[in-house]
């Protein structure tokens, strides 16, 4: 009885961590011996769709699928799994439709909206006002960043901000592609443009630790105009990040090799733990052995900062000072 675990192939960052946690869990299952498990890593959307098709071509001995859909176009592929009557668990990017909802064993995901929501909450606590300037550095143009943005707006709306007021304050960057280098370059361009108005209080909301690392590296480098940088540092109120990369935790602990923990502004990272994949696979196992599972399985987020960083387990590797 095989459980197929299907995730995007990646070498690093959040998806990279998902892949390695998935591998760990798959190895565990195979060692235990009740079930067997196989990991499928897809290089692109079509590749993942084809992997599912081929899997469904021969369902003898296939007892369940755990899948992190590559993108939002996988709807009908998931519906095909449902139609083939194979139990499945969706992880992280959960796609909903009547057919899917009728058959899916569980939707296991972190709270992407929660990331934006918590970030906005923290900003307001730190003193964000309608006269300020929020620079939002987005991950890419897919639904995940959309949710994070939406959560951010949601909290502000709850605080009585109108859409116009939010639009006047929040400015989005171009897609960083979740990349530190691209994030850094975009930050530097933004910094030296008229957009970066140091007469206002500035808040930077990045969608990811990698992007935030890019900003930190840039502030640590020499590409910024010194006089403007001084003004900027005065204006900067907070830099937010997300996911739980070991390197940014090292900054928060002030154990980073080159970047000192900032004291003039608030640096924090909202959790989005890739180890959630293990819970998703667990859910599948439990369901196969007849246990009842909560269908909607949202893992709450927490805000990690210098105070509480020791309580959290980061992912990835970093040699701390």
């Amino acid at each position: 009885d095989e459980i197929a675990v299907m995730v995007p192939s990646a070498d690093h960052g959040w998806t990279g961590a998902v892949l390695s946690y998935a591998q760990e869990k798959v190895d565990e299952i195979n060692d235990e011996g009740t079930y067997s498990a196989k990991l499928y890593a897809a290089t692109d959307v079509e590749n993942q769709i084809q992997q599912v098709d081929d899997l469904l071509a021969n369902t003898d001995g296939l007892s369940g699928i755990v899948i992190l859909p590559y993108d939002n176009g996988l709807q009908s592929t998931l519906e095909k799994i449902a139609a083939a009557d194979i139990p499945f668990v969706q992880f992280d990017r959960c796609i909903n439709s009547d057919v899917i909802d009728a058959k899916v064993v569980a939707d296991v995901k972190g709270d992407n909206e929660g990331i934006g929501y918590e970030t906005a909450k923290r900003f307001i606590e730190d003193g964000l006002t309608k006269d300020d300037y929020v620079y939002e550095m987005i991950g890419d143009n897919s639904s995940v960043p959309e949710l994070r943005s939406a959560g951010f707006r949601k909290y502000l709306t709850e605080q009585g901000w109108s859409d116009e007021e939010i639009d006047a304050v929040v400015v989005k960057s171009a897609s960083t592609g979740w990349s530190r280098d691209k994030g850094k370059e975009l930050f530097e361009s933004w910094f030296s443009s008229a957009q970066c108005d140091t007469s206002k209080k500035i808040w930077i909301f990045t969608h990811d630790d990698e992007i935030a690392m890019g900003v930190l590296e840039s502030l640590n480098g020499a590409a910024l105009d010194e006089s403007k940088k001084a003004e900027f540092m005065d204006s900067l109120q907070a830099l937010s990040a997300s996911s739980g990369l070991a390197e940014i935790y090292a900054v928060l602990k002030d154990k980073h090799q080159t970047i000192a923990r900032p004291d003039s502004y608030d640096l924090f990272s909202v959790t989005y733990d890739p180890a959630m994949i293990k819970e998703a696979i667990d859910a599948m196992e439990k369901s196969l052995s007849g246990e009842e599972i909560e269908q909607n399985y949202v893992i709450p987020v927490s805000v990690v900062d210098a105070e509480n960083v020791e309580e959290f387990q980061p992912f990835g590797t970093y040699d701390e000072k």
């Binding site: 196989k38 290089t43 692109d44 079509e46 769709i49 098709d53 939002n72 176009g73 009908s76 439709s97």
Partner: protein
């Protein structure tokens, strides 16, 4: 006899290469292989293959189109919106093909009429088309383009995209039909000869009375139309499109499929038939990697090496010919 074999090899090496890869696949996949896994090779070649057919026509004239992946995605988004409005499979098909053709026309006019280099023109439209598709979705406040499942034509569309005729999926049959049509066009029509003539010696084609500008535009339109048709197939099969990732790298993959199929990048030489095998060979590479359970990060290494081998084999044959 040896000569005959040699000439077969030089003309049909894409079949040999395909068979080689196919045997490797069978060997690795072993008992796991069912008839469906075999027909899946077809199915999974259909969408990329339909685009590769159009790309092949352009490459036969000696040009290139980097924008296919983006046209694919832009036409996809628009067609889904349109389908959700009109609830008609036929109109959606027409729309997809038309849209693709229009995007191809834009490339074609810039390349054919204004003599701008195809590489740059289609690099630019590659950026433009995808970005418009993403912007549009963003403006609509959505995260993907999805066919409305509550429509009465949703099921028939889905059935078409996922049904079989004698175990072969419909969309693979569409791909085959288009391939046969283009094989016929290139081997047996006057238009086809013009395409080859243009790719072989543009100046001579011009002086023989071939309308070079128009022919050039036409292959881009044709490639666009094929891309549009592929869009329709994808919609029927998967009923949704994510503009950030769908069709990514299709320009590279379709070019690779064309080249493995034995068509020369400099134009004028090769067979459309080869593209069928070229695409299937390309599709099989992914399957072999999955079957091997290899580290997916090495996927591209294997792909690259096979690409080199396929082209290398063709080179050997060419070299032995020219000496």
């Amino acid at each position: 006899m040896v000569k005959k074999l040699k000439s077969f090899w030089s003309q049909y090496n894409f079949i040999v290469i395909f068979l080689g890869i196919f045997l490797i696949y069978l060997a690795i996949n072993g008992s796991q292989t069912t008839w469906t896994s075999v027909t899946n090779i077809f199915l999974h070649s259909a969408i990329l293959g339909t685009i590769a057919l159009g790309m092949g026509m352009i490459i036969l004239t000696g040009d290139i189109d980097l924008s296919v992946g983006s046209s694919f995605v832009l036409a996809g988004g628009l067609t889904i919106l349109f389908f959700n409005k009109v609830n008609s499979i036929f109109l959606a098909l027409v729309m997809a093909v038309l849209l693709g053709a229009v995007f191809g026309l834009i490339n074609g006019i810039l390349v054919g009429k204004f003599r701008m280099p195809a590489f740059i023109v289609t690099l630019a439209t590659m950026l433009i088309y995808r970005s418009i598709s993403q912007y549009m979705m963003n403006e609509l406040g959505q995260t993907r383009y999805s066919v409305d499942a509550t429509l009465s034509k949703y099921q028939p569309l889905f059935q078409f995209g996922n049904g079989n005729f004698l175990t072969i999926s419909y969309i693979a049959l569409v791909f085959l039909a288009v391939a046969l049509l283009l094989i016929y066009v290139t081997t047996s029509t006057k238009y086809g000869k013009r395409v080859y003539a243009l790719g072989s010696n543009e100046k001579a084609a011009l002086l023989a009375g071939v309308n070079v500008v128009w022919t050039r535009i036409s292959v881009f339109v044709l490639c666009g139309a094929c891309t549009g048709l592929a869009t329709f197939l994808k919609i029927a099969k998967d009923t949704s499109f994510d503009p950030a990732t769908s069709g990514k790298n299709y320009e590279l993959y379709s070019i690779a499929a064309v080249v493995i199929g034995g068509i020369s990048m400099t134009g004028g030489r090769g067979k459309i038939l080869g593209i069928i095998f070229g695409t299937m060979s390309f599709t099989l590479i992914d399957k072999i990697i999955t079957a091997l359970g290899m580290n997916a990060l090495l996927n591209d290494t294997v792909k690259g090496v096979i690409l080199l081998l396929a082209v290398g084999l063709q080179m050997i044959q060419k070299k032995s010919k020219s000496e």
